[in-house]
Structure formats: structure tokens, C-alpha cells
């Protein structure tokens, strides 16, 4: 009964690792004397145990070849093979966006994120992509900063505020 390796095992291993981390870290929590009966360690022990227990049960299920169908969605084609390239590019774009917000301001960082994501997902009319990404970014920034009084770094547009 040799089955193809299921990536779900990685997720299960992560669950087990989280459980072990919780169980190992819990004794580090200092218990104040006033909380002798139900201290800050009780709940973490319960959760840690739950995580490890579930990981074992799930590992058994996965190894026996019982898996759940992937989530359906209206823009999702469940039968397609995973497009790792598109996904990784989106992840990198988002991380870059996070790091760029403070140096170049939210509007420009959001323009990069929008244009990049749209291009990866298949938008090809470059002028439309650029115009809509910058327009949306600056518009949202203006609404949130001037309309709602939120703080978002403006970068070169900070002088307008």
C-alpha cells in the first residue's frame, strides 16, 4: 500500500510542532502564588495536548489515504495543478510591499503590490494596470488619511497632509 506523499503531512507536522512548542514553553511561565489552583499554565497545557493529539490522529488519517477535498471557490479550479510560480510571486510581492511602506510610502508600495499581483494573475493591458493600480492606491490612501483620519505613511505625498 504505497501512496504518493501528501503535502498535508507538512501541515500536520506544523500542527505537531506548534503543540510541542506550547508544551515545552509552558513550564517557563511563572506561576504567581495567588494562582496556585488554576494558573496561567493550565490552558496552554490543554491546548498543547490537543494540538499533539490531533496531529497524531490526522497523520494516521493522511497516511491511510483519507483526505478531504480542497476548498471550492468561484474563481478556483480544483482540478488544476498548483501554480507555484504565481503563488510565490504574490507572496514575495506582499513581503516586498510590507518592507517598502515605510521607505517609499503606502501609495507607491500599494501600486507595486497591485500592479504586480494583477500582472501575475494574467492582466496584460499594461496601461490599464498601471493607471488602475496607482489610481486605487492614491484614492484609498486619500480616503483613509483625509476621510477617516487613519495614519498611513504617504512617502512623497506626505506633504499634502
Amino acid at each position: 500500500m504505497v501512496r504518493r506523499f501528501s503535502g498535508e503531512l507538512v501541515l500536520v507536522a506544523l500542527l505537531a510542532a506548534a503543540g510541542v512548542y506550547v508544551l515545552v514553553q509552558t513550564p517557563e511561565i511563572v506561576v504567581p502564588r495567588s494562582a496556585a489552583t488554576a494558573g496561567p499554565r493550565l490552558f496552554p497545557y490543554l491546548i498543547g495536548g490537543l494540538l499533539v493529539g490531533l496531529a497524531v490522529l490526522l497523520a494516521v488519517q493522511v497516511l491511510r489515504g483519507r483526505s478531504a477535498p480542497p476548498e471550492e471557490g468561484e474563481d478556483v479550479d480544483v482540478d488544476r495543478r498548483t501554480d507555484w510560480r504565481a503563488m510565490l510571486v504574490v507572496i514575495v510581492l506582499f513581503a516586498a510591499h510590507a518592507l517598502l511602506i515605510e521607505p517609499i510610502g503606502w501609495p507607491l508600495a500599494a501600486t507595486v503590490l497591485f500592479a504586480g499581483t494583477a500582472a501575475v494573475l494574467g492582466a496584460r493591458r499594461w496601461l490599464v494596470v498601471l493607471a488602475s493600480s496607482f489610481g486605487l492606491a492614491i484614492g484609498l490612501w486619500a480616503v483613509f488619511v483625509f476621510g477617516l483620519g487613519a495614519y498611513l505613511p504617504g512617502g512623497p505625498f506626505q506633504m499634502w497632509t
Binding site: P40, L51, P70, I101, G149
Partner: protein, 497 residues
Amino acid sequence: MSSFDYLMQGFAAALTPESLMFALLGVLLGTLVGVLPGIGPAMTVALLLPITFSVPATSAFILFAGVFYGGMYGGSTTSILLNTPGESASIITALEGNKMAKLGRGAQALATAALGSFVAGTIGTLLIAVLAPVMADWAVTLTSADYFALVVLAFCTVSAMLGSSPLRGVASLSVGLALGLIGLDSVSGQPRFTFGLFELANGVDVVIAAVGMFAVGETLYVASRMRHAPPELVPVSRTWWLPKEDLKRSWKPWLRGTAIGFPLGVMPAGGPVVTTFLSYAVEKKLSKRPEEFGKGAIEGVAGPEAANNAAVAGVLVPLLTLGLPTSATAAIMLSAFSSYGIQPGPLLFEMQPELVWTLIASLCIGNVMLLVLNLPLAGIWVKILQIPRPYLYAGILVCASLGAYASSQSWQGLLVLLGIGVLSYAMRRYGWPVVPAVVGLILGPIAEDNLRKTLLVNQGDPAALVGTPFAQLMLALALLAIVVPLIMKARARRKVP
């Protein structure tokens, strides 16, 4: 003053131009995000949280509640015309609704969904007005053991009833519970499980977790396996009202849907989604034409659509009277309450009568607005669906960044958001429902607080957890929620060898 007087005062406050504007904005936004895939009411409320800095509490909650109600209306439109539910609470609607649309009865399906939502929403809102004050009085007598049992019930229902694999539902819940452990211990104030990172000392922000789980996770999932064929849209004529024959077939399912949806919304029983399944099953059982089910039975649209709106109204009852959120959207509304320094709970009706009653009155008005917006304007909402997908998901990511940055004020928060998004992608990929994770994160700390309080008061005696009849009842229901699906699955497996 009686509830009625308070309600009339609420209407007076809700009919001011400012309140009306916020209600209209809320229902418009709500319908929009209900129609659009990948972005739902929870995410929208999260995105709008910064307005709590600049507008009074009443206006903010009118807006949020409008989004919550509107999301349910919008979801049904896409279910019927596209066979692709914009919201999980509309999955059932797609079964019959889309069949009706293909038979050329799309207009009637839309009308029965909108009218059913209206009937259920209005009855539900009036029930809030009647029930919530009573419940608040009663809630004062609840002990921490009772609260703990309620939360356990919520855990069991969301994880067992959503998704195809209960074990994966529980696993998802435990992911949320583990994330909820991160941060300061509420009693002794020491940091726990922060990986030594200063940014995590205050825990994982609910907004970041919800936006990451829903918006970022969905976008990554779509990016990984995008459907490139354009969605198949069923054309529909303009609708104004239901023909008499359909009205006759619809009104009973509306009322039954309301009767199922509201109580289940009030109980922490998995939120609106579960109620739609139940309502559908009931209508199928009671129908005089069961053979029509699966081929476009109007009852199968009318019942579930009423049920999900009634459930949304029901969800507001425990949120307002117990401070207990039972859905992701309600949980984010709870964090909005805390940013105003308002503590929802038994005392809310005494401390903030103006806020509560204006909110309830605004819900009634918002419902009327939704009916007006949705009956004749269904065609416009459908046009919005034709936004090319690359732009739509790029926009969703930008909005996610906006909401997360506005609430965390740090780029590190965005990296946490991305991490949760990747986790959510993996969960979707392997059929782990994501809603239990969000519920676990939000309710986990509430569960811990009440567990510890109960044990402290009773010198560590675990029997105290089942010490009250109410707690016993809730825990018994929780047990049922776990056992019944397992039995049903076992029976189904026996039938299909």
C-alpha cells in the same frame, strides 16, 4: 421606560440624515462585498475599523451592522445567477437558485431571496428588540462556568458542522486556539509564546488574523489554481415583485427559515451557514413537491435565504448581551466596541441605551433599504461581478494591506498577516475549513478566562464546570454537535459500501 419607548427613541435617532447616510453606506458596501468573491463582511468591517477613530460609536455600528446584513443579500445574487456563492452562507441557495435561473425563473429566485431576507431580517430585528433586554437581565445571573460552557458549545458546533471532515475542523479550531495563546497572560500579565518577539507581546490582532485567513489566504489560493474561463452568467430580467403563485409557495418557507435561523444564530451554533443547511433539509422534507428539489424549487431558495438573514440578526443578541461573538464578523465588531471603550455585555443596555436602540432601529431601516436596492438593482450588482479577476484579487490584497496597516501601524504586522495568509492557503488546499480557526482565536482567550475564574472560585474543583443546569445543558448540546455528525457519517458509509 419600556423597550417600546426606547425603540421609538431609537427610530428618532436613526432617522437623522447622518444615521441614514451611514446605514445606506453600510448596506451598499455590504451588498457589494457580498456579491464579490474573496471579500466578505468580516473583512469589510475589519477594513472599516479605522473609522472608529473619527466618528461616534453609534454611526460606526450602524455602518457595521449594515455591512453584515447587506453581505447576506449580496451573496444570494451571485448564488442564483452564477451558481457561485459569494458567501459561504449562500452555498445552499446556489443549489436551487441557479437551477431556477437556468429555467428562466431567475427573477423569481432573486425576488424570493430578497423578500425572504427582508421578512426574516425585519422579524429578526424586532426579536432582538424584544429578546435582548430580557436576555441581558438574565445574563447577569450567568456564572463563568456558564460562559465557559457556551464557548465550548460554539467550538464544537463550528468545527464539527463546517466542512467535510470534522477532524480537520477541530484541527483548524486548534490552530486558532494556539494563535490565541500568544501574548500577555490576562491574569498575571506575563508574555507567553511570543517566540521572544516584541511585536507578538500583545498577541495576534483579531483584524490581522481575520484578514489574513480570509482575504490573503483566498487570494493565494486563487493564485495557485485560478479558473481562467469566464464565469457563466445566467441573464435575468428586471424584478419588482413575486407573482402570486410563487408568493404562495414562498411565505411559509420564509417564516420557517426565520424560525430556524434566529434561535440558531442566538445560540453559538456555527453562525448563519449551518442554519441554511437545516432550513433546506426542512423545506425538502415538508414540500408537497419533493421531486422539484434539485431542479429549481423556489422553497429551497426562500427558506435558506430567510434563515441566513435571521441568523445574522440572532448573532447580534449574544454579541450585545453577553459580549460573546459567535461569528467572525461579530468578533471584529467586538473589537470595535473595545476601541470605543465600550464593554458589550449584560450592562450594555443600561449603560448605552441610546447606542443599542439606535442600532436596532437602524437595522430595520437598513433592511428596507436593502429590499429597495436589491429588487430592481440586481442587474447592476451582476455587472460588478464582471470585474476582471486579476484586478479584483490585486485590489483585495491592497485592501488587506490597508486594513492591517491601519490597525497595527507597523510593517511587521503585515508580515504576520502574510504568514497567516500562507497558513490559510495550506488549510484551504487540504480541505481544512478556515472559519473555526478565526473563531478559536477570538473565543480562546474568553474560554481561558472563564475556565480559570470557575476553578479559582471553586478551589480548583473541576466539577464546578458542570455545576449549573445551564452549563450542563450547553455541554450536552456540545456533545451532540460532535456525536451526531459522526453517527450520520458512519451510517452514510454503511449505505455506500
